[in-house]
Symmetry: D4
Subunit: 254 residues, 8 copies
């Protein structure tokens, strides 16, 4: 289903080939599917260009499975991989019984249902740069999300500013990407340093890695919001998914 479909219905009403109560039913019903516990948003592709992503935390594995099945039924329209974030292995086991093509990315905690055909959506390139080894789960959430949504991804991990020569060594690789995602906890300085060195948009992800006056990621968050480098925008603490989604939106408009 897409925008032209809706326009078609409306023009049929206008020229009299469809009466308006019939049109109403079609249009009212289509944008989302009421599943009792959730309104699955098929309309999203029309509006934003990507299928709905399932946030698994707080849902039962049966609910997750059923939403996946509902989304797969229209995957052809999006030609895009489907995914669920913050998923446990138990969630995956439940989903894979119904959808054997499902894949579990453990470090990223993501369930993917790939769109395997030749005409799968392809976007641009994304570099995921992270500061320390403890930031890897968030970095992986970003990297896997970017892959599922159709980007080519480079992973540049453990290049925090305490040993800045490691970053410079990888700078050429980073500079070849269309969008750069920087994942860092503690003082989050990496975002500013990278932001000052590249000409691509930088999306910074503060992580809750650290202790004491880190206050659950607040230090990295404030640090990134106050970055002295330009071209840096921020997403929520630990929100690797959100950064990769935004990167995909940028690349999809290219």
């Amino acid at each position: 289903m897409n925008e032209s479909y809706i326009k078609d219905v409306l023009s049929k009403v206008k020229n009299g080939t469809m009466d308006d109560s019939e049109a109403f039913e079609l249009l009212k019903e289509l944008p989302y599917k009421d599943m009792g516990f959730a309104n699955v948003d098929h309309h999203r592709m029309i509006r934003t260009g990507f299928p709905e992503v399932i946030y698994c935390e707080g849902k039962t594995c049966e609910q997750i499975r059923d939403i996946f099945v509902e989304l797969v039924s229209r995957q052809e329209e999006t030609k895009c991989g489907l995914m669920g974030t913050r998923a446990t292995e138990k969630d995956y086991e439940c989903v894979v019984k119904a959808l054997p093509q499902a894949i579990y990315h453990k470090a990223a905690r993501i369930i993917e249902v790939p769109y395997a055909k030749a005409e799968a959506k392809t976007l641009g390139s994304v570099a995921v740069v992270s500061a320390g080894t403890a930031d890897i789960p968030v970095a992986e959430e970003a990297a896997v999300t970017a892959q599922v949504l159709g980007n080519q991804v480079s992973r540049i991990y453990d290049v925090g500013v305490a040993g800045i020569h490691r970053l410079f060594d990888k700078l050429d690789q980073i500079r070849q990407s269309d969008v750069v995602i920087v994942v860092a906890g503690m003082e989050g300085a990496l975002a500013s340093v990278v932001g000052g060195l590249v000409d691509a948009p930088v999306i910074a992800v503060p992580t809750s890695v650290g202790y004491g006056a880190n206050f659950g990621g607040l230090s990295a968050l404030l640090s990134m919001l106050n970055s002295c480098a330009n071209g840096v925008s921020i997403v929520n603490i630990d929100n690797g998914f959100g950064a990769a989604y935004t990167a995909s939106v940028i690349n999809s408009k290219r």
Copy 2:
């Protein structure tokens, strides 16, 4: 000055047509200009694609003027407008004596030194959407910045969610832009609503507009960081400039 220039120097050293102390002097000196009170960063264009922007707050008007003059001397290399943000009218009066082509954008508090030639840089389109009339200064900072850096800008102001029909009335116009900047104070809900309705990247700017439990913009900032809509990234409170700069970086890669 640009990347090829540096490569040229290095290759001359390699093939022996320039000795290395000469090369050192050229390269060491070029990236920035030490003005005593500031190191003007000509290297920035090479790294990030845009000339340095002057943050005027906390600088004397003479310092601002001198930095502008230094930047103008190399404006030909960037083919891009120059600008100073958070500038007062007094700052402008000081600058315009030295650079008569300078323009003052009062609501945005920006001094612009345009690059008027035909080959001026042109990027994509940016919509600046704001919630209330009190958000206009920040929105204007974004809009003028985007214009100076080479974008076409639509201004859609005073369409906050308390009267959401005003937003829907302008939705087509917003959807035609390559990047959307949403400027909102108070509860900042506009960012989520717009983020759910468009397929372009949304850059959200929380403003300090409000009182009481607004805590200087914290309410809008937290609201935007926790947006339930995807594709939304955030910049600092009241940082209209930063949002527009990021939008320009996105558009420059298009």
Copy 3:
């Protein structure tokens, strides 16, 4: 027991048909029942129109059971359902042995002891509108509370602003209610959007749903307190009960 009873005692003292030490004993004793671990407040109905509600967290299941039994002994005076919030299934098992008519609402974590007679209190209508599936426990606490206290309740769930067409589809239903409760976590934008669209009082309940810069519900709380829509008032984070109680007070005065 009610207000006229107290007035009756006082007038008997005045006209000499009751001596004042007797009156003192009656009046002193009645307003609450000292149960050792708690002072059960029978006076509450006189003052506020509703029986005391038991906050179960931090009480033993025996204490909960005994308070229920005490309250049931005077349920005839209030003609209203009784309830305990934040109750576990274990609490319920303890209560239902003493009061077989008790019902457990699992999602809402509420034990209800209904007042089943024909003359049960009836108030107005309440719409409970929630943003996401993870907000449902709080929404259910509100919905069940409103029902127990005598309101007709419509549940409109999972209509968050990321897919705002789902909200518009349900708008007529929402507009038919006397009071609207909006339950939302993350950025809490739904409260402002609904507040701008209805002419009934809106009671907003921020939830602790979210992560990172959500800070345990602070983002939604500040967002709702700063709502640009008028007619919106707020209760504590996750306090679905409080919102429904307030709605009931509003409806009881109608």
Copy 4:
């Protein structure tokens, strides 16, 4: 303008007596008036039952005057007083030249343009209860707002809990009101005490009155949000207007 007007236009389109481009122009134009600097929201009455209220802070006195004039031109439709909050005497002087019927409430900082006719809207009664003399400006903002919007208002000031007998002395008067607004700074305890004593809805307004660990009203805000009394909902710090508006919405549904 009202809901029936819109329905009338739509039915004319349906039966062919109005062509759809004409209807579009009528409907598109009507809901708000684009004044360049603001979109005046005539649609608000249809949606929420009250005319738009002007938040004067951050607007020039000419802008305030022009919005008042625009709103007065349709005051007949609402039969309700108009008002601007957070207004200075200078703002008033500007408005009263254009609208001689305008009144300035100094303590409340409100400009009122009354609707003087016999059929003026009348709602219910509102008690405004405040803790200390320093809370009076916020209390007056609430009281005047409630009056302008059509309520009968009792003012019960300086009855804070440090001398609680003053409150008990006024309790009968408070209990006779349909809605009770409690305005208190410092520790805000008055809201809980009143909430435990009345059967009407209580709207609590924390004020920024106090010093030190008051943190700009945070102490009273948190205190009220955590009230142990039921039936209490809260608005933003110092938001006397918001409380009275909510009270009016409650009373208008009566």
Copy 5:
């Protein structure tokens, strides 16, 4: 050991009956006992009038036992009960083997080693007033501490302001005490109400009871710090011990 002992040593040095190296050894060694893991402070009685109290959290039960034994060895000097706070039952079992006279106060989490003789220290009276049943553990920590240190204690529990008539019913009893301790969570309003009604010093203890915007007791803490009633001072969140200790210091000077 007491002040006169020290003075005696010094005067012996002065008149030559003790040489100064001997005096040094006596004085240096006496004030505290180095137990390896802790320096037990026997000097405290001289300085502050009470024996050291053991804060058990974070100590092993053997360490707790050994400190108790050390303190008991000089209990005769203080003629005062000894106690350990935040103690578990396991800690108690360890202590009681070495000191069979030890008592465990479960709700208060206090181990007491009473001083049973006739000449035991007696101070004044303390009323412990608490708001809700969930505040009882903190209230009990205060009540038991006050008893152990020699005060007569009245417990007035569950008299929070939501049903303020319960408080007034107990007012005479409260007013007969030399010091009043008020223990309250949530909005902590009880401290201000009591503070306005009595002429004794009021020590307020905020508790972490509540949820949401309670923020671990912050709401009650700020509320009490900003009390509009005079004569109220505050101790740390959940610090029932500290309040009772302060009350004892006040009563010991009487």
Copy 6:
């Protein structure tokens, strides 16, 4: 007016020598004086033992003067000095015209109306100990308040822990006081050090003296609330008055 007066009225009603409407008028009117802008609380002396103290900030100098005059009319009943805190010199000039006996304490910002007669109330002794010279205004507010309310006051200023020998030099003087008030900003360590050295109750006043991570007195406040010394209770930031009032309450019970 005092407690026996009220009892007298009540017994007259009982034995028929006063009819109850007359008694009602006497009792209703007496406890406070409604001055339009304020309810002056004559009842306070009965309840708390001290006359009402005027908080001058936010009141006009005429209001302050009128309240003083009202309080002086009954000063004979309290035999205690009257005072207004946070008063400006302008306030004083206004008061002294009506009450020539008024005194202005500039550093403390207090207006005093002394009770000069022989039978003036006398309480115990209070030591006011402060850390730095910048803390003196708050220390003076405490010292003057304690004097006005009838205490003997020792001032021990500028003895902060950075030069702790200054404190030890004054320790004997401090130890001779019935109550010790410690006034300190910055890290507020003085409260813990003094608390560990004396056997009198210590009332700690955090001040807003400092900068940066002082956050308006928060550092000293948290420091004092977490004091490792026992017997320390706290009042609000900069609340020298509150500390001295509490000290007076303690001393009045002696």
Copy 7:
């Protein structure tokens, strides 16, 4: 590997005895070892004078072991002990199988791999002073780190300001150290007191020891940042390691 090695490679390139692709490979590879999950930073010794320290939290015990093995392979270059912080006993068991010389410091949670030879690095002396017994784990982290890195360490524990004579008794010992580390939770006053008494640099470590308004160490942190004593600098909450590392850097320059 050290600075002279790099200079040697560069001079070989200059005089033609090494071609530049060979030099590139040597230099690029050397500074760090890419282990897949981590980039081990051998370059650190050149830059900062100490080998990399392993932060074990969030790493698997196999990763920890492999990094230790890698670092040991070049331990000869640093002549310094190696260490991993925040290590569990399980981590140690894994490491000791590969490196039998490894030692586990339980209270400090540190794994040490000593450099046992005669020419081991020796620096200066460090005193670790702590306030209470609950601060010992952090104090031990500091003490063991200082030892491993080559310092002589004195431990002065349980000398908090509530019994300040214990501190004075140890003052001579503290004053003999080159650097003083002060570890304190609760109100952290010990840092200011020590800072005012010694002439060595003081490094303050706030701990999260405490409860209530301690807010996870915030009280001690703010207290120490606002210390009225000069010569005090601060590290993160509970960061005993960081304090000792900084002390070692200071001593290594001596």
Copy 8:
């Protein structure tokens, strides 16, 4: 005056050449000078190695002048420059009349009274590195303090990480210093980057430079506290003086 002086007095008492009341007067009087408004701490030199520094904010210019005069009278004992921080030009004018040798450092807001003789104290070298031009006042406070106390100072300003090549260009100069002070506002990333590149102790000074989510320097403060680089310790926001004092203490022990 120095330590040997005190020992001399004590030995005279011991051998009977001075009687103890005379000794008492000498010793009691010497450590500080009671000036009424301040206790000038001559004892400080003995304890900490430097004369007292005057914090001018909140003192009158006469008080500042008198303290300077008092300190100059014993300057010979310290052989060190004297200084007052946070001084205004008006303060200076007052001081220079009494002490013509006084110098005013405008950017640093410091009054210096130099010790001009040949034997003036000399310590080591200090590099003051700052991020932006707006950080210069704090950087100058650090630089001038370090000079006055006897260090050689290099200033490396405007080398923030947004243009990190400027920092690398100055790295050799920074590395030659005994102590490095890093002054940065906004995100404060410079501290971590420098900390990873040098082997000297780094003292980080967060500044309040920035806006929005900077929260008065909180972002830089948290960033620096969470630095991933080792060897970095922190002082209070904007406390350039404190950093330089600490650097001087480190260098004085060298």
